[in-house]
């Protein structure tokens, strides 16, 4: 017998240990499409919510360069506000996403929130003589501070801001480096912090530290990739623009010479016009790829879009001399995509199929459900096919197997598919044609009464 369980949404019993619930919430949030800031908010929320450790307030410092900067402080400002907030958060059936939505407003720095009060609280991140709270991060130690006003190691400015006698400092560590610090207290309920609270908060600190570390690394990696792509783009644009410019300049130069025969004049002017059109095409495609902003995906019937592309004069003209056959299953489901981009994606794939296939070849378009939630639109050609290195680079901007291609079509398709939660797959062997599959999230069509 085999039993299957979901990795991302384990259903805990109501009386499951709170530690388990807390760790589950935090680890699940890392799989959500939240931003770094939202994920940090999830961690603070988990530390302060009733189902978590249940601290009243959580403050976050993040290390930026050699400084520890107060970033976020979550919790009620007063006992009255605490009552209101905790009532909302204990509404039966409220999900974690809703709680994060609700808490987002609480950490706004533009209003009179706790986070706004943190503004300007900055400490050196590596100071032998650091005062609390920076002391905990600098020494990489968890500190429980009680009777704070009598403790000379506590920074007075910080004490004025936090305004409580007992608080817990958890340094956020990753690979032996400090990435921040969380400070927790029970300012409203005045409940003493227990050893088990400290242990649990310490584990959350380790998870948070590693998350911040990997998220920051990921951001840096994206920046590096962006820079590399920009460099590649600059190189490519130079080449793409220079060749037509050289041709235009060279043939114009010839026209300026005396006694140019009429026939040559006409030929040169035709070349110049064609090269200018090519330049326009390059500029259009570049602008389209760089600036096109994708709209929010929605559910729609793909049938009319596919028909509009196939029946367009452009495709019909190209299809002469080819066997273009289209088979869509009856009663297509609704797919999730931006409808405008969908049309362009289909046209782009068809263009590629025509370009890769010699006249007389076959291009087959198929549309079918893979399963109740996935719809596949496939385009198969009998063209030259792709080598393995081609397949690896296919979705890289500016990579092209065409003589005059820009290499922006497939990266655009991938961007569209990524945005709508879909996928694009390629199957091909050199000399044996290619099969491109667009896999969309789908649902049954809503029946109109």
């Amino acid at each position: 017998m085999i039993e299957k369980y979901s990795i991302l949404s384990p259903d805990f019993e109501r009386d499951a240990p709170r530690e388990l619930m807390l760790l589950s919430i935090i680890s699940q949030s890392f799989f959500q499409p939240f931003s770094l800031e939202d994920n940090l908010l999830v961690i603070l929320t988990a530390l302060t919510s009733g189902s978590g450790v249940g601290f009243n307030r959580a403050m976050l410092f993040l290390k930026q360069g050699d400084r520890l900067r107060g970033e976020m402080w979550l919790g009620p400002r007063s006992a009255e506000e605490a009552g209101l907030i905790w009532e909302v958060l204990s509404t039966p059936g409220i999900g974690y996403v809703e709680i994060v939505e609700h808490n987002r407003a609480l950490v706004s720095k533009n209003e009179d929130t706790l986070s706004a009060r943190l503004k300007g609280l900055v400490y050196a991140a590596d100071d032998e003589n650091a005062l609390i709270p920076a002391y905990a991060a600098c020494r990489k130690e968890i500190l429980l501070v009680s009777q704070a006003s009598t403790e000379p190691l506590v920074d007075r400015r910080f004490l004025n801001v936090i305004g409580v006698e007992q608080f817990l400092c958890i340094p956020l560590l990753a690979r032996d480096d400090v990435v921040g610090e969380i400070i927790l207290d029970n300012a409203i309920t005045r409940t003493p912090i227990t050893p088990s609270d400290i242990k649990l908060a310490g584990i959350c600190g380790l998870m948070a530290g590693n998350y911040i570390y990997s998220a920051t690394l990921h951001r840096k990696l994206l920046d590096v990739e962006k820079m590399a792509a920009m460099g590649e783009m600059a190189m490519f644009v130079t080449h793409q623009l220079r060749n037509p410019i050289v041709a235009i300049g060279g043939f114009t130069e010839q026209l300026l010479k005396p006694d140019v025969p009429e026939e040559k004049k006409l030929r040169n002017l035709t070349i110049i016009r064609d090269e200018i059109r090519r330049l326009e095409g390059i500029i259009y495609q570049m602008g389209h790829f760089l600036k096109v902003s994708l709209k929010e995906p929605i559910y729609f019937d793909p049938g009319p879009g596919i028909a509009a592309v196939i029946d367009s004069p452009e495709v019909q003209t190209k299809a002469r001399g080819y066997d273009l056959n289209v088979k869509l299953e009856p009663c297509l489901p609704e797919i999730l995509c931006d409808p405008t981009s969908f049309g362009e994606v289909v046209r782009n794939l068809l263009d590629n199929a025509f370009d890769a296939t010699p006249a007389g070849g076959t291009i087959s378009v198929r549309g079918y459900r893979k399963n109740p939630t996935s719809f596949v639109l496939s385009i198969r050609d009998t063209g030259r096919g792709l080598t393995n290195p081609d397949k690896e680079n296919l979705f890289r901007p500016f990579f092209t197997t065409k003589e005059k291609g820009m290499g922006l079509g497939l990266p655009f398709i991938k961007r569209v598919m990524d945005t709508c939660g879909g996928k694009v797959e390629v199957q091909s062997r050199f000399g044996k044609g290619a099969l491109f599959k667009l896999i969309f999230i789908c649902r049954e069509r809503e029946l109109t009464p």
């Binding site: 190189m235 130079t238 300049g249 114009t252 003589e403």
Partner: protein, 118 residues
């Protein structure tokens, strides 16, 4: 006797331009559009000079130069590329001259004259 130049350039219009302009200068021009065709021509006849682009479909200009150097070290080679940055690639240093493509062919023509001793 006219000196023979082999041009390797994947852009049809540029092939035509170089062919006409350099023929007018009194050279015997053979233009091909990729490295394989260039190697085939080199196997068939001898040339006094080779002009090659770098970025081409299939084998690129740098690979072509490496192969030519293995076959015929005595033929001078000019790289004629849209990219300035390949100048920094030491693999291009094997060529006798590097000319960045321009709508004025003066630079290219003067490099040809210089290398052919005209």
């Amino acid at each position: 006797m006219k000196k023979k130049i082999l041009i390797v350039e994947d852009e049809k219009t540029l092939c035509l331009l170089y062919e006409e302009e350099l023929s007018n200068e009194g050279y015997d021009i053979t233009a091909v559009m990729d490295a394989e065709a260039a190697l085939a021509k080199l196997g068939e006849q001898s040339f006094d000079l080779i002009i090659t682009d770098i970025r081409m479909p299939g084998k690129n200009g740098i690979e072509l130069i490496t192969q030519i150097m293995g076959l015929r070290k005595d033929i001078p080679i000019i790289i004629n590329s849209a990219y300035q940055s390949y100048k920094e690639d030491f693999m291009t240093w094997a060529a006798d001259a590097y000319v960045v493509k321009s709508s004025s062919l003066d630079d290219l023509k003067s490099k040809i004259k210089q290398l052919l001793g005209d």
